[in-house]
Amino acid sequence: MASSTSLSHVESDRRALHALNILPGVLLLAGIGYAAKVLERTVNTYAKAHHWVFPNIEYVLWAILIGLVISNTLSIPKIFQSGIATYEFWLKLGIVLLGARFVLADVLKLGGISLALVVIEITLSLALMTFLGKIFKLKPKLISLLAIGSSICGVSAIIAAKGAIDADDEDSSFAIAAILALGALALFTFPAIAHGLHMNDTSYGLWAGLGVDNTAEATAAGALYSDAAGKVAVLAKTARNAMIGFVVLAYAIYWAGKGQAEVVTNKAAFLWKKFPKFILGFLFVSLLVGFHTFSKAQVGSLGNLSKWAFLLTFAGVGLRTNFREMSKQGLRPFIVGALGEILIACLTLGLVIGANRIWGL
């Protein structure tokens, strides 16, 4: 009795010690994340006040950049290490809560034509990025990340896929950086091209929603053209976002199967073991929202909690990324990303123009 009591004391002491151990690192992640949010707001406000033509750099990029600068210029003390490692927990927590922001029923709002375009876009993007990645001999998981990021919804999809396929931090960092950099460029190029082609609001909104990867940039690119185009862009982007669960699920199964080189005696049990359970949490939360379990304000709160969790994740991604490791990869991933994005933008433009001619959007 006495020994079991002392053992439980030792266990609880160990847990308390562990909680204390992770605290400095978690505070560092939170500090970097919050600094990123402040920077986003401050820089954008300053640029607007001084009429600068300055790309809207999101907190995501700031958090990764701050983390990268710290990890590549300073030697991070050991006291922060175990806390920094918790970023994977924040990642998965963020993904489960993200389910609140991806309602499958939203796809129906777009109607048949738009939905068909989304499906074609995702299929073409996945195939194109995979093809380009193989031509440039990128690592298979980096190809998957770039393909998922460019076909569905940029950063969220890469973050979701990273956990699901257990990809390298450097790979996801590279893919996120490429998608964000190209998304910022799209803010300027998409409206300019559309004006040149005299596209109508619906066609352009669809193109922005299909062709620009990150949701914020897609929304902004649409709104830069017109208010009506902005609304259509959000709808088309939502349809793409709704597919995140299915595509990441498919990739998770693909990689789980690929990782089993030895004889598989019980494939179902193996898949269950390898399958990232947080995706089920993601789908469950999405389903709860679909059944109107939460009010609109509550859904908003869940979405914001997801963003806070991701904020710590982004800081961790930057902190865990080392330029020396990245330089071994070279510029090929970025070139593949850029080439792929340009081709996808052309393909989706062709799709939208074709749909406009056939159905009169």
Binding site: H18, N21, I22, Q81, S82, A85, T86, Y87, E88, F89, K92, L93, I95, V96, L97, A100, D166, A167, D168, D169, E170, P276, K277, F278, L280, G281, F284, V285, L288, T293, F294, A297, Q298, G300, S301, L302, N304, L305, K307, W308, R320, T321, N322, E325
Partner: protein, 42 residues
Amino acid sequence: MSTDRSTNTSKSALLSLDGWAVVVALALALVVKLDWLKNVPW
């Protein structure tokens, strides 16, 4: 490579990460549903 390192680290730090993420997320969802946590800002 670094994923392996981070996974190992986090596995030793937080057992069954997926499970904890789902449990904490559902607990947060419950807290929000019960209106114990309202209008989370961003």
